[in-house]
Symmetry: C2
């Protein structure tokens, strides 16, 4: 088998842990597989580098931040390669650019545009384990770019797709994907199997076992993912295309996300193109907008509400000031004391009343819903941040996900 294995920052945080990762990689190789390993920066490295930058300037350029932060993964690949070498297996480390990973030009949030697999295959053909730096690539100008949040997962999946790997194993500090966060609801159950779409919704909803971009990439290129623990050899959760919808549980999981800010523009003139103006201004600054709700108002004015991630708030505020003036809205407000709670399930589309059950669960728990958005396989609600645990627990029970219930989770 041709296997891609991805280890995150906590798995390589110390020399001792790097040795354990090396052992695991070597075991996989010696079981008769070809192995490409993707690693993140060691533990706090990235945060320490960001601290250094902040001591120099409040507003570092994205290009130079990429130059700085990409060193973190480079340290990891060199150390892991040394550890693998010392176990007697041939190995070579490659930076993102050396591994042929090309991206667009959006520093700090680059997207992979292609992978030239020549070097990767040359090293694999030479019988080597290849250790690749996650999170990074190179633009057409030869500059180092980073992929932003979850970049290492994306690197692993993109490489798996490019070299047509049999499986892409994502090692984490949990045993797999759960019906909800086990730290919030102890009755949470591990899923043996989940579809890309469900995983995608869970990931984008703050169940951060896997980054949504990585899942999207995997879905698009049909890369089978295996989310599993780096601490044991138990099988984790397989993420793949599901052949029959019938097999799916109505609701696979309950996700929550505290990294949310609710914004509202009020008394927006009711003219065509207004929404476009607002959201393209945000898109220009690379601010991702999530839930969008436009509510009709009296007097030919509307309110437009939407959510963004907390990190993007400082960038969003000046954009909102400018836009408010530009479209002659009355003003805007934001509220960061909110959370998003969501249910996800591929079976939802053929089962009416699922959303209603969720609202019911929240009402019974005395929780007010501030915003609602739905898709074919998910329902999300914005609620008060301090009610999130109660909400997840109530919904988890409502849909029979608690672990005393023996609903099948088989693929």
């Amino acid at each position: 088998m041709l296997v891609v294995q991805k280890f995150g920052g906590s798995s390589v945080a110390t020399p001792e842990r790097i040795k354990k990762v090396a052992k695991r990689v070597v075991d996989t190789k010696r079981a008769g597989n070809q192995v490409v390993v993707v690693v993140s920066a060691m533990g706090d490295t990235t945060d320490n580098l960001i601290d250094l930058a902040r001591q120099l300037t409040d507003n570092p350029s994205d290009r130079e931040m990429d130059m700085l932060l990409s060193t973190g993964e480079q340290v990891s690949i060199a150390l892991l390669a040394m550890a693998i070498d010392s176990l007697g297996e041939a190995v070579t480390s490659l930076t993102g650019p050396q591994a042929g990973i090309t991206t667009n030009d959006v520093h700090a949030k680059a997207r992979i545009t292609g992978i030239n697999t020549e070097r990767l295959f040359k090293e694999l053909d030479d019988g080597k384990i290849v250790v690749v730096a996650g999170f990074q690539g190179q633009n057409d100008n030869g500059d180092i770019t980073t992929l932003g949040r979850g970049g290492s997962d994306t690197t692993a999946v993109a490489i798996a797709a490019a070299i047509d790997a049999d499986i892409c194993e994502i090692f984490t500090d949990v045993d797999g994907v759960y019906t909800c966060d086990p730290r919030v609801v102890p009755r949470a159950r591990k899923l043996d199997c989940i579809s890309y779409d469900e995983m995608l919704e869970l990931a984008s909803l703050g169940a951060v076992v896997l980054q949504p971009r990585a899942v999207e990439f995997a879905k698009h290129h049909n890369v089978v993912l295996h989310v599993r623990s780096s601490f044991n050899k138990n099988p984790g959760t397989i993420v793949q295309e599901v052949s029959s919808m019938e097999k799916q549980m109505v609701v696979s999981g309950v996700a929550h996300d505290l990294n949310v800010v609710k914004m509202a523009l009020y008394d927006v003139p009711d003219r065509p193109g207004i929404a476009m103006q607002v959201f393209s201004a945000l898109a220009e600054r690379n601010i991702n907008v999530d839930m969008i709700i436009q509510s009709a108002n009296r007097n030919e004015v509307n309110d437009i509400s939407f959510t963004i991630t907390r990190d993007d708030l400082p960038k969003a505020l000046p954009v909102m000031e400018a836009v408010t003036e530009q479209i002659a809205a009355k003003g805007f407000t934001y509220d960061d004391n909110v959370a998003k709670v969501s249910i996800v399930g591929a079976g939802m589309v053929s089962n009416p009343g699922v959303a209603a059950s969720m609202f019911d669960a929240l009402a019974e728990a005395g929780i007010n819903i501030q915003m609602i958005s739905t898709s074919e396989i998910k329902v999300s609600c914005i609620i008060r941040a301090d009610q999130v645990e109660k909400a997840v627990s109530a919904i988890h029970s409502k849909f029979g996900l608690d672990s005393e219930n023996e609903a099948s989770t088989a693929c």
Copy 2:
């Protein structure tokens, strides 16, 4: 003017110091110059990375060490670029490979084979300050290489040569090149000017203000160097080709070097090709041999003595074992309790008796000479390590270099 400035690791050891370097670079730019800056890794970074590697393996591969250590300079260039940017000057950082620096394939001790200046000139033409990572390049395989000891000096000089810079300023923690180490002889004087050959001898003799490789490169490409303090704006020492030998002092300086091990092969059969066998075996392992003395013995056997640097001793011992057997010598010994003390001066060649004066000074100080080697512009002696300060002081006085003497040091 087109100026290359090089700052070492201690100059960029903290964010505060990086800000000072940024200020100095920006001042140079604003005085109407184009500026390329070459920097080393911050302070202890390299040592810390080496420690990390040692926690994983006693014997890391040179390729992976290069992958690891090259991150140190990459951090520095990103941070310095941020600091320069925050002072309002356009700037871009470039890794060694991005700056077009190509090397041969000898990891950890690579030699620069060429510089593709396209990117450098593009950035300069755009009005930018360019910050380049010292110490690193890329081989034909696209792998990161490091240049070994003094690599950042070499990078600066090589870039200055490639872009035909008007001057290459080497910033250090001393005011320039002295007649000897001021920590050893407080009466040492700063030289205003020195020739490449003299600097080359001083550098290779352990006066580590400038690395010999860098001086060699500068001599070969006629790059004018200015060795000066990073703490003040005083003029330092200019290193350049000297038009008239007459101007030179007989002895410019006294150098000493404790990073020396004396090795001796004894009872070596007196056959042609023997010396070649010994020194090519050492050269194959990239071990630099310095002073070589072959003394005729009775009975058609010789003794061969030579010196190497202390760092190379672990690599040299197995080579010596093998060679001793191969050439049927009786055995070999080594002594690391030695030091090298040397006088350097371009005027020496036309002044007989200079070596004799040096031996005289040592004899008067009661110091035994173990080995002697001479060139046109230097005389070196191996003595006991604990006598080195006394030796330097005695020689310095003997040649009238003490600062109460007002011998001219003008160019």
